[in-house]
């Protein structure tokens, strides 16, 4: 038998100001005019697997239900197809809001356990930042190791096939003159640090910086 749970929400369950913060992110400013029509959910190819539909995510953000939104699988299932954004009658950039929420979830480390997508996002950026490009094989390996190492065992045959056909290169790839990339990135993060300092947020860790780089 399914256990019966209390579903009522109290005002203390809200994180006041969360909605406003998300709506302050570039691209998310239109959210206040959402009319909860559900076109985004209807247009979304993945909404049938989501725990909250995109429309519900919009409502939850607006109502400051931060914990519910950040721990939902919706933001991670979003495939960035932009179908919803194209169809929304209020021109709300739902996909951008999904990104803002993903960034927030990574920064706060609240994404659902075993969800590979945030891990992938982080490993992807790390690799690009240090090597200038990614090596798909290594990225996938790291993803498996960090998210679900048992999966390696079940997928070894596929992997082997890919290596044999040359689709999967084992040699790590990197760009030349990586020091120039590093210098470039340093200026970016210096500017970001400055911007953050101006906003009174001095203590962003490098970890958070990387998280904000995603993707």
């Amino acid at each position: 038998m399914k256990s019966i749970k209390r579903t009522i929400k109290y005002d203390a369950d809200r994180v006041q100001g969360f909605g406003r913060e998300i709506m302050g992110v570039t691209g998310c400013e239109q959210l206040p005019s959402c009319i909860q029509c559900g076109t985004c959910s209807g247009a979304c190819p993945l909404s049938i697997y989501m725990d909250f539909s995109p429309r519900q995510v919009m409502a939850l953000v607006r109502a400051d239900f931060k914990r519910e939104v950040l721990s939902s699988n919706t933001i991670w299932l979003c495939a960035s197809c932009y179908g919803c954004t194209v169809e929304c009658p209020r021109q709300i950039r739902i996909t951008d809001i999904m990104y803002a929420l993903k960034q927030r979830a990574i920064r706060e480390g609240v994404y659902p356990k075993g969800m590979p997508i945030p891990v992938l996002a982080r490993e992807f950026t790390r690799m690009v930042l240090s090597k200038g490009r990614i090596t798909e094989t290594l990225l996938v390996m790291r993803l498996f190791l960090k998210a679900n190492w048992r999966a390696v065992l079940s997928s070894w045959r596929l992997g082997l096939g890919l290596i044999q056909t040359g689709r999967f290169v084992l040699k790590p790839e990197r760009i030349e003159r990586r020091e120039e990339l590093a210098a470039m990135l340093a200026t970016v993060s210096v500017t970001r640090h400055a911007a953050r300092a101006a906003k009174g947020r001095h203590h962003a860790t490098p970890e958070q910086l990387i998280a904000e780089e995603v993707p």
Partner: protein, 676 residues
């Protein structure tokens, strides 16, 4: 600068600044919080009180109220004021109010100047300090100007009692009948070959479900039979000149190749037309049926007269037809292939525009499949299908002739969408419920309405919503994402599939149906911008004609004597359209029955001593108000003809022309005041 004496031919007495001391009374209005919250009114009053010539300066909560007006009157008497300045709202709203108050106080009403510190200040600023500085500058300008004001008289021009009504939908029909019944002569101009507008195409009308034709056609016939109404269908307005009370309008009458007075509507000609088959799409049935090149728009058309479509008629196109219609018409001799376009000029005093709306083109939303899937129709097409006089004699059938067993109505098509039309079209929730009820009644089908919000605020409309619910119409709250013919489940085979989030149930659903009805919204007419220019009106950015005031003057426009009614002002249902039409007719009657128009004394006048007789002003006056007196070698302005456009004033090389209300010294002092 003009010389100080313009009495010669003016209606003004330009001696104000010369006789005695100037005693100015200044009033600044709080307009409740409208001005008071942004402008420090007490500070403005205090400042203006220190200016030379100002003997009294007050701030007051509501200057336009009765006590406010009485204050001006008693102050004029007690403090021997001879000039008054009020800083408040727009002169459009209250200039007349304050001029009247000044007159009641015993002064000439033109010894008054109004300053707009609401629309031009408090409503557009939020910095209290700067707004107050600006208000002081505005007030100072008026105080400087008003010293140079003159005592003037308004003139009265008689008003033409005839009225022009443009557009013969239900709004235009109702306005024309109201005016005609009041004994006024009305010209009703309709672009299409018959009057009736959209309503003529409906089967029933919400919320009472009375038969549209039964309530409309008697009014249409009444128009035709009315002794006071001249009906010109298949005609358009080509030109509008003049001003309130005296408009000259040119109407273009397109040739129907049939003489209206001779045709008896027997339709013998249609039967005998060389085209045996009716093969051209019929506009009235929105393309759902066919007609011949010679046709009557619909059985109850008014006037009951056929017309020939020049694009389709062989004779008109090539001149090589056997003209079997001519033979059929025989002695009646109503068909006339030599007919030409005709321009007619009429004189009217007032005009009502009732040009209605057009429907949103459903093809603009490709994901709903209109034009792609034959069983996706618009609500207007369904209106024609359910009407017993329609192309299927009232049977709702799919394109293959079979009966639909399920149907889905998609609401807000093109409406409430920032990418197409932002507005709510106001009638589609209601007419979709009407059509859903009729659909169910005719076919016993399972009908679902897909909506975002049901808007049923009119009288009897919520009850109509309840009736729909009780009759078993399903309602799914969600804006449909797409319509496809793509079956993913066995029950979807051969059907149209609606994909939608059922927002109240909380999941995405796929719902297969046989027929889909799109509730296409209302849009301004395609030519609304051209019409706006023709009649010198304002439009909202979307193209709806703009009313003078959204609450207080809903059928007036910014052009005096021109009124609007019905859907050309914005989406509305029939009861509201009729109410506006009646209101517009009443506004015309109010002007006509007063008998005259009071004209601003803003005419131009010539200072003869400065006129060099060069005649350069003569050809420039658009109203030919300037003549030349050969005996003295000076130009003369006929005040009755001058409209105060100012063209001659600006053009005179000797600076010999002045204009009442806009004299040089008034304007220069105003500028100096604002810059001081």
């Amino acid at each position: 600068m003009s010389a100080s004496n313009g009495n010669g031919n003016g209606n003004g007495n330009r001696n104000g600044s010369q006789t005695g001391a100037i005693r100015i009374g200044f009033y600044v209005c709080h307009c409740g919080h409208n001005i008071g919250a942004v402008v420090d009114c007490a500070a403005v009053a205090h400042y203006v009180g220190t200016l030379p010539g100002v003997v009294l300066s007050r701030d007051y909560k509501y200057m336009c109220s009765d006590p406010g007006q009485e204050l001006i009157q008693s102050d004029i008497r007690e403090h021997r004021l001879n000039r008054v300045v009020v800083a408040s709202c727009s002169p459009l709203l209250h200039e007349h109010t304050f001029r009247t108050a000044v007159e009641r106080g015993g002064l000439n009403p033109f010894y008054f100047q109004m300053v707009n510190i609401r629309e031009h200040n408090s409503w557009v600023h939020n910095d209290r300090e700067l707004a107050t500085v600006k208000a002081k500058a505005q007030a100072r300008a008026a105080v400087e100007r008003v010293r140079y004001h003159d005592s003037l008289r308004t003139t009265r021009v008689p008003i033409q009692p005839d009225v022009l009504v443009v557009g013969g939908g239900i709004s235009g029909i109702h306005a024309a009948l109201t005016l005609g019944n009041a004994g006024k002569k009305v010209f009703l101009v309709e672009r299409e070959p018959s009057i009736g507008g959209h309503m003529a195409q409906f089967d029933k009308t919400f919320p009472t479900l009375d038969c549209a034709a039964c309530i409309l056609t008697p009014k249409m016939s009444a128009v035709r039979a009315h002794e006071n109404i001249t009906l010109w269908t298949y005609s358009e307005v080509a030109k509008v000149e003049g001003y309130v009370g005296n408009y000259t309008v040119t109407i273009r009458r397109r040739p129907r190749y049939v003489i209206e007075d001779l045709c008896v509507g027997c339709l013998e000609c249609v039967g005998k037309c060389i085209y045996k088959e009716a093969k051209f799409p019929d506009d009235f049935n929105v393309g759902l049926s066919r007609r011949k090149p010679i046709y009557i728009p619909f059985p109850q058309a008014v006037p009951q007269v056929v017309l020939i479509d020049p694009e389709r008629c062989l004779q008109v196109k090539t001149g090589k037809c056997k003209k079997t219609c001519l033979e059929a018409c025989a002695d009646r001799k109503a068909i006339d292939f030599s007919q030409q376009e005709e321009l007619v000029q009429i004189k009217v005093g007032t005009i009502i525009l009732a040009t209605g709306f057009k429907l949103f083109d459903a093809k603009r939303i490709p994901q709903y499949g209109y034009g792609l899937y034959p069983n996706v129709v618009t609500s207007l097409e369904l209106e024609r299908l359910v009407t017993s006089s329609g192309p299927t004699s009232g049977e709702i059938i799919l394109r293959d002739g079979s009966k639909p067993r399920t149907a889905g109505f998609i609401l807000c098509v093109g409406s409430r969408d920032t990418r197409t039309n932002r507005w709510c079209s106001r009638t589609c929730c209601m007419h979709s419920m009407k059509l859903a009820q009729l659909f169910k009644e005719h076919t016993q089908a399972d009908v679902t309405i897909f909506y975002m919000d049901i808007r049923a605020p009119g009288k009897g409309c919520e009850e109509f919503y309840d009736k729909s619910l009780r009759e078993g119409i399903r309602f799914v709250r969600g804006r449909v994402a797409e319509v496809t013919d793509w079956a993913l489940a066995p029950e979807e085979e051969g059907k149209l599939v609606i994909r939608v989030e059922d927002t109240l149930a909380g999941f995405v659903r796929r719902i297969p149906v046989d027929m889909i009805v799109l509730a296409v919204g209302m849009e301004p007419q395609a030519d609304s911008q051209a019409m706006r220019r023709l009649f010198n009106l304002s439009c909202s950015t979307e193209g709806w004609f703009l009313e003078k005031h959204p609450k207080l003057a809903p059928v007036s426009t910014f052009t005096d004597g021109i009124f609007i009614a019905g859907c050309c002002q914005g989406p509305k249902d029939i009861p509201d359209s009729i109410a506006q039409a009646g209101a517009a007719a009443a506004e015309c009657l109010a002007l006509i029955d007063r008998g005259y128009i009071e004209q601003e004394p803003n005419t131009a006048h010539i200072h003869e001593e400065n006129c060099s007789g060069c005649k350069s002003c003569l050809p420039l006056c658009p109203y030919t108000a300037i003549s030349f007196d050969e005996t003295v070698g000076r130009a003369r302005i006929n005040e009755a003809l001058c409209k105060g456009c100012g063209t001659c004033v600006a053009s005179c090389p000797s600076g010999a022309i002045g204009q009442h209300l806009f004299e040089d010294e008034q304007i220069f002092k105003e500028i100096e005041g604002i810059l001081a």
